[in-house]
């Protein structure tokens, strides 16, 4: 590897890029706007004083800026992205094309319903697919992301408990210790007390401990299935039955629905509410952290409380019910302005129609097959905390690293130098130094084989004392390890001009 220093700091195609505030100017503009007609201002006393202190860039400069930035990102389109629980699968471009049809992209949420019947039809079709795939009678489409869907499901549960007059009594929500952080955060947001349930030696909910915690003060359980260790909860039906008998509700975190779609219907497991991350199971793009979409399916018991708005069949076509009072049932309220993530609905439906019932079943099977192939191919050199087959993701711990002088983080950073995005690390919390690998169904066998070979070589290196390969990593990425302590101790959250900085000091 060449250590050559360059004048620009660039390294061939790897280009450094300054902030827009450092390259743009106030005089520049990349949009040609019409001349402003002369009118008398009606801004009252609210007109701005002074200019907006933001630079502009011409179109070519702006294009270059953002393209250069893009080249500093890892992406599914460029390589394997095995983030466990995040489901980084291929994002079909047909979905993008469909979402951009003017009939979906260029319609206003509040134009007369008679002028958007096709949009309502799309929402109704998506709802039908989601209800059929999950075996549930109702779905709330509007939640904006997974955590928002969790909130929706738990709100429906809270409303049902309130309707029974049990709100004061049912204050506790059971959450396994392996749960994603959004679960306890959601329960706490609704005023519930979070009570942890331990895992058993097989990585699943400890059934005895769970039953012991049941009581008439339990509102719900929030259980992820397949769980965050990548395992199917074998006792799930027994858990649901016991919970229902005790008067509680079953919230299932559907983050990992992609492992079972087309093969198992949550409705058959006794689930009362489950959100579905359209950006995981149904391939809408993650976009660097959103937008997501978290439609939430509801059981018969919770269906009457589904939030506004929802689509129903009316006399002259489809109707969007947007307000209380004109609803036949008893919505718990509204979670969001307008109707949710239409752009994501189109993408997800486009994906479902492409795969069909047969293809979706194959999706789950290939996702599980790929994960098990990785598990089987690495467990002789890395330590797997649990026995038996996994579902869509393979979990390892750091037991095998003992005495190598490196830790999970070092291992992950060395993967970056090999051209891979690291797996999910240190999650779930119930496993020490966790490494959670989710290949998804859209990786070929050849891609998996190269990944496995790379991982085995890294393990060999770690065990043979190649400490620098790990401790110094990454060395070949656009940046070396970043100082997160500095960032957090003295937060710099926006750009400031050198003059403003100086003035502040």
């Amino acid at each position: 590897m060449s250590e050559k220093q360059t004048f620009t700091g660039n390294r061939g195609l790897q280009l450094e890029e300054a902030l827009i505030f450092e390259i743009g100017s106030f005089e520049n503009c990349g949009v040609d706007l019409e001349d402003v007609p002369q009118v008398e201002s009606r801004l009252g006393d609210c007109a701005a004083q002074g200019d907006i202190d933001l630079p502009g860039l011409s179109e070519p400069e702006a294009m270059r800026h953002f393209v250069r930035l893009s080249q500093k990102n890892h992406a599914i389109d460029a390589g394997l992205y095995p983030l466990g629980s995040c489901t980084m699968k291929h994002n079909p471009r047909l979905n993008e094309k469909m979402a951009r049809l003017p009939g979906f992209a260029d319609i206003h949420p509040l134009q007369p319903q008679s002028t958007v019947q096709g949009a309502l039809e799309l929402m109704d079709s998506l709802a039908h697919w989601l209800k059929t795939l999950t075996g549930m009678p109702e779905v709330a489409l509007s939640p904006k992301a997974g955590a928002h869907g969790e909130l929706c499901g738990m709100m429906a549960i809270r409303a049902a408990i309130e309707a029974k007059g049990e709100l004061a009594a049912r204050t506790r929500v059971l959450v396994p210790e392996s749960a994603h952080g959004t679960n306890p955060a959601t329960a706490a947001l609704l005023g519930f007390k979070v009570d942890g349930i331990p895992a058993d030696a097989s990585g699943r909910v400890d059934l005895a401990a769970f039953k012991e915690k049941l009581g008439d003060d339990v509102a719900a359980i929030m259980l992820t299935n397949p769980n965050t260790c990548g395992l199917f909860e074998r006792d799930i039906i027994e858990i649901a039955d016991a919970l229902h008998e005790a008067g509680g509700y079953f919230y299932c975190d559907g983050a990992n629905f992609n492992a079972i779609v087309g093969r198992v219907r949550p409705g058959d497991l006794g689930v009362d509410a489950m959100h579905i991350n359209l950006h995981k199971t149904f391939s809408t793009p993650h976009g660097g952290g959103g937008p997501g979409s978290g439609p939430t399916v509801l059981s018969e018991r919770l269906a009457p409380f589904a939030p506004l708005p929802y689509v129903e069949k009316g006399e002259d076509g489809l109707r969007l019910v947007e307000n209380n009072g004109d609803a036949a049932h008893n919505p718990f309220g509204r979670m969001v302005a307008f109707h949710g993530q239409m752009g994501m609905y189109v993408r997800a439906l486009s994906y479902m129609m492409s795969h069909g019932a047969d293809g979706l079943r194959q999706v789950a099977e290939d996702a599980v097959l790929n994960a098990n192939y990785i598990l089987a191919s690495l467990k002789d050199v890395m330590s797997a905390p649990f026995e038996g087959p996994c579902m869509h993701e393979a979990l390892f711990d750091d037991g095998w690293m003992k005495d190598t002088g490196i830790d999970t983080l070092d291992f992950a950073k060395a993967m970056i130098d090999e051209g891979y995005h690291p797996m999910t690390m240190y999650f779930p919390l119930v496993v020490h130094g966790a490494m959670l690998i989710e290949p998804t169904e859209t990786e070929s066998k050849a891609a998996l084989d190269l990944f496995i070979a790379t991982m085995r070589d890294l393990v060999r290196g770690a065990k043979e004392g190649e400490v620098e390969r790990f401790k110094n990593a990454p060395e070949l990425a656009p940046r070396r390890r970043l100082d997160e302590t500095l960032a957090a101790r003295s937060p710099v959250l926006r750009w400031q001009s050198p003059e403003a900085k100086q003035a502040a000091e």
Binding site: Y426, E484, T485, A488, R489
Partner: protein
Amino acid sequence: MSKKFTKDHEWISLEGDVATVGITDYAQAQLGDVVFVEVPEAGRQVAKGDDAAVVESVKAASEVYAPVSGEVVEGNDALEGNPALVNEDADDSGWFFKMKLADQGELDGLMDEAAYTAYVKELD
């Protein structure tokens, strides 16, 4: 007097009727680089086991519980501008708050240095 310790890795040291509370060197090492500390204001009443302060590293946030009951008389303002003090000197200048004890008898339930050392050894 000599220091007493809690299972939550706080130390408490009594001088006269005012006790100083901090987190142990073991705790700071577990947390990693401390980036933020929130200490209680003077005058706040805390019961044994209450959340009294917050300590955050890059990857973890942890409550600091009152090891005994009493009234806070001073928070360590130096930590606001320099949270690194907790890493550099947890046992002394990186203290969190001082409190007036409601019942000195509560100290008897805490570990002495030898017991705490043994406790930590067991954790590793």
